[in-house]
Amino acid sequence: MTRSAIELKAEAKNLNFYYGPVHALKNINMPIERRKVTALIGPSGCGKTTFLRCFNRMHDLYPHNRYEGEIILYPDKINIISPEIDPIEIRMQISMVFQKPNPFPKSIYENVAYGLRVRGISRKGILDEAVEKSLRGAALWEEVKGRLNSLAVDLSGGQQQRLCIARALATGPRILLFDEPTSALDPTATSKIEELIIELKNEVTIIIVTHNMQQAARVSDYTAFMYLGEIIEFDKTDKIFTAPSNRLTEEYITGRFG
């Protein structure tokens, strides 16, 4: 893979992460290409979610967590995990969609508008426009446009997850993080989310953690296979799934372990 050909959005350099005494991520080096989908796969406990949550500093919410190394965000070349950088500044640019749909117990409208309200925007015209644009972006607008003021928790699971995507999109993020976004959804809702992810990469860089190897193969351009806190192999998705160069990767994707 020639490095110069790709346009970087972010890059992890010698990233280490510790939960108290537990060394959870070990010397991670990995590029994230702009407007592409990068998938993180690996067995449970391999550190893929831990890695993902470094990108928007979610680990800062809990005590005794420690980062070492760098995650450089391009084009500004700031180090995301530097203690001098306010995590709020990072989260305003890098949003996240979680494993279980977690809409607020508020209206559909307020859920999507939340990110803007957090930034102090309250002009109805701006909010209305952003809510519609984000709901369209999350392929949910047609289903909910007549009932924006009804409660978000009354939507189906798949709709709730798309609402959470709309909420993450509303503030125009530069990177969108997905943490196993379909693990709580049925196959129909899952395929809708997958289509959406492929659609979204035209506008935003995406990193997705998934347990489901078919899903990684379907939606991603790059795949990283992680094991015991290390990146075992990182390459173009086609290459990883057809001709992996590492024996562990091959055993994992053929289902022999994990």
């Binding site: 928007n56 500044e89 979680f98 607020f104 990110g115 957090v118 959470c164 909420r167 993450a168």
Partner: protein, 302 residues
């Protein structure tokens, strides 16, 4: 085989015995409560009238009423609420959302848990020392209200923490993930979603405060008051007066205690009637707490 059957029979016997014992224990409580209530109502109900609520205490049992007592209770609870709610809720929010997990927080937590178990008369002594002698608030509504506020503060803090802990962590993460600050998360999510639980705790705390006697006697509430505290509204600018805060007062439980300790039968009837009023007051507050909890449970789903 026979052996196993015998053993099962034996175990089942104990099962039956225990269920009967627990049923009887439950009934003892229920029957006692019912008997007490009936007795109280039989004695006091005929005495309750409009005049009973609008008369001051008197030397003659048939002319005596509970005006100064229920007004005193109401004003006291007002002071208690104004002091205990902001302090308790803020402390609860701090401990759940802001405080780090360290030895300092641990000490605060142990202290609050212990405070909840301190006998109420100790709070009375504390209030006597601090509010009466040190701050010179006198034996006033303010002193009494603050004493009760101290008493229910641990309850309010615990109820607030309990309610906040019921908010799922996924909601917090969802809020932080779009770049919200701690205060924005608390203001837009934590407080609104835990209001039901917090209000319930507050009301139960206040209804406990209504019935407290010991700390109020300690800070020097009078047992015989034939006047009302100054009116909180006046006809002159600025129309609101806080003079009542420093007036002497009495409260329902003290009035009841005073009447019971008199030899005349007529006063005992008065005590029973005042007891009914006090009971109804606390029942109403508890009912309000249950209703609020029900309303909020229905409104907030995760």
């Amino acid at each position: 085989m026979e052996d196993i059957k015998k053993r099962i029979k034996n175990i089942k016997l104990w099962n039956g015995i225990f269920s009967i014992v627990s049923l009887l224990s439950t009934f003892v409580g229920l029957v006692l409560l019912f008997a007490l209530m009936t007795d109280l109502f039989m004695d006091g109900a005929p005495r309750i009238s409009y005049k009973f609520f609008t008369s001051f205490p008197s030397r003659f049992p048939e002319e005596a009423g509970i005006l100064s007592a229920w007004v005193g209770t109401l004003l006291l609870i007002l002071v208690t609420a104004f002091a205990a709610i902001p302090l308790g809720v803020a402390a609860g929010i701090y401990l759940e959302e802001y405080a780090g997990k360290n030895w300092f927080t641990d000490i605060i937590e142990i202290n609050i848990a212990n405070l909840a178990g301190v006998p109420s008369i100790i709070y009375g002594l504390l209030a006597l020392g601090i509010f009466v002698y040190f701050f010179k608030f006198g034996e006033s509504v303010l002193t009494g209200g603050l004493a009760l506020a101290l008493l229910i503060l641990p309850m309010v803090i615990m109820a607030t923490r309990e309610a906040i802990r019921a908010v799922p962590n996924s909601i917090r993460e969802a809020s932080y993930a779009v770049g919200a600050t701690k205060w924005q998360t608390v203001k837009w999510h934590i407080i609104p979603y835990s209001t039901g639980g917090i209000l319930t705790g507050i009301i139960i705390g206040l209804s406990r405060a209504i019935g407290e006697t010991a700390p109020i006697i300690t800070v020097g509430a009078l047992t015989f008051i034939a006047f009302l505290p100054a009116s909180p509204v006046s006809t002159e600018f600025p129309f609101i007066s806080f003079k009542w805060l420093l007036d002497p007062f009495t409260v329902m439980p003290i009035q009841i205690f005073n009447w019971v300790s008199r030899p005349q039968q007529g006063f005992h009837v008065n005590a029973a009637a005042a007891g009914i009023v006090l009971l109804v007051m606390t029942l109403f507050m508890n009912a309000a707490a249950i209703y609020i909890r029900y309303r909020f449970r229905k409104k907030i789903k995760w």
